[in-house]
Amino acid sequence: MSVLVYTESEQGTFKKAAQEVVSYAKGIADAMGTTVTAVAVNGEGPESLGQFGASKVLAVKNEALQKFNAQAYSDVIAAAAREEGAKVVVIASTANGKFVAPMVAAKLEAGYVPNVTGLPENTEPFQVKHSVFTNKAFATTEIKTDIKVVGLAKNAYGVHENATDAETVDFNPETNNGSVETVSVDKATDKVTIADAEIVVSGGRGLKGPENWGMVEDLAETLGAATACSKPVSDMGWRPHSEHVGQTGKPVASNLYIAIGISGAIQHLAGINASKTKVVINNDPEAPFFKAADYGIVGDAFEVVPQLTEKLKEFKAQNG
């Protein structure tokens, strides 16, 4: 009857999203008077999930699952849910989480709601609030099936410590990799990704050309941030497509989003609205982005950005 939560890891290390999703599952379990069981695939130190409220971890160790395979991973999660008799299954709405969740839901004949922004408003009937229309609105939706699959939006709940003794149990369900096989992975390992970043620094057409991105990268490096861009910037090939954020690009839900030379078109704002603090640097005081931002500087990016980087370096030097 426990709440089952899938905890994602990358090369053995649990992601921050895994800690957040366990914290959240603990919140649901408390409301329902039950406990949290996590399921992990090749994650190192599974007992560490106890820190966030898991009292049991179903630990899968399987060489065949070294690479992410949605078919096999969804088999694992569905099998874990059955093993535990779980009525609620929580999966973070990350890229891989959103890949497996519909398959898990279909396997369990469960209703599924992604991008959930908080604890259920009710557990009977089971109602959750989630973002819709790419963050332009929220819906409260009732899941009517016996088993419920909940996808938690990034950074919506936060990581909460809740020290619990976690019992680790080996778990080796039958899985099927299906016909999908990973041939090669092409990934920059030395860069912070937009998905994981706490801070994202983003540039738009106001930066005039790809040759001017050095100052954006300097700022990002100083902050330990990921770099991003508006759609026209990637369409023109100034920056790779993987940096395009917005309604038709990647969603951003960071703690801090700094927009440089971006006008703030509705399609851009939709994708970044879930970020907590938004800063705009734009030389046009009428740019629509100022209406959506928390802080703004009206000024020429070519002057402001290098100054900001300098100031931040000083700040870091003083504050460690």
Binding site: A70, Q71, A95, K98, P102, M103, A105, A106, E109, A110, G111, Y112, P114, S131, F133, T134, N135, A137, F138, A139, T140, T141, E142, K144, T145, G178, V180, E181, T182, V183, S184, K187, A188, T193, A195, D196, I199, D235, H241, S242, Q247, T248, G249, L256, I266, Q267, N273, K276, T277, K291, A292, A293, D294, Y295, G296, V298, V304, L308, L312, F315
Partner: protein
């Protein structure tokens, strides 16, 4: 090769989002509906398979008669036939069940859906179709080639991409990258004329109950005014002391 492109009928990206009936329904008043952008990339890729590899391309939507102009637009872009399953798309699972029925019935080798619909952002229909039809599934697809009954797909991952191989039948969740923005087609007069005589079939829905139901909608609380600052010193101080993000 037989391809089915699943077309979600969604409000244009610039639409104002409002609700009616005591905030229980999306207000369609004055809203223009379009092919879901992710599906438009998929449809355009399907046209490539049609033109270069002789594929047959059908499009399908689960929805009421009001979605037919959107399907006609897909026909004008070049799809051969359209199917509309005549029922309200109440939730992702029930839509997937309707489409899975169409897929089995029509014997499609490749089903192209989108990463998500930009209205409810469910991101669930393609994955569920794959499970219900026993096909393989690849999400966040930004490249797709088919050779015989083997597909090579590129999938966007956090911080990069990966190349995958899979056998047909296959379902994908596509997005920008599948084709470039500049490859998207605006229907021309000839396409629009031809689309009028292409088959657009309305089919009765199969029995499939919804597992979830939206109870109410709300808009985010209005945002406080922006704080304009004159210097980077002030900005850094605010980010540290007030916003506590650095």
């Amino acid at each position: 090769m037989k391809i089915l492109v699943c077309i979600s009928h969604v409000p244009d990206t610039t639409s104002k989002i409002n609700f009616t009936d005591g905030d229980t329904k999306f207000d369609t008043n004055g809203v223009q509906f379009v092919i879901n952008p992710n599906d438009e990339f998929g449809l355009t890729r399907a046209m490539w398979f049609k033109e270069k590899q002789g594929a047959t391309v059908h499009v399908a939507n689960v929805g009421g008669p009001e979605t037919e102009p959107t399907l006609r637009k897909a026909l004008a872009i070049g799809a051969d036939e359209a199917i509309r399953v005549n029922t309200a798309p109440t939730d992702g699972y029930s839509v997937a069940k309707q489409l899975a029925h169409i897929v089995k019935d029509g014997g499609y080798d490749l089903v192209i859906g989108g990463r998500e619909s930009i209205d409810y952002n469910g991101g669930m229909v393609p994955g569920m179709i794959a499970h219900l039809t026993g096909a393989s599934f690849i999400n966040n697809c930004i490249g797709l080639e088919i050779e015989g009954d083997t597909a090579t797909a590129i999938r966007e991952i956090d911080g990069g991409k990966e190349t995958l191989k899979a056998n047909l039948p296959l379902v994908i969740g596509g997005q920008k990258g599948l084709v470039e923005e500049s490859d998207l087609r605006i229907p021309n007069m000839r396409g629009i004329m031809q689309a009028r005589s292409k088959p657009l079939q309305a089919k009765e829905a199969v029995d499939a109950s919804a597992e979830t139901q939206a109870v109410k909608f709300e808009k985010p609380a209005p945002k406080g005014a922006v704080k304009l600052v004159d210097s980077v010193d002030e900005l850094v101080a605010l980010l540290h002391n007030e916003a506590k993000v650095i």
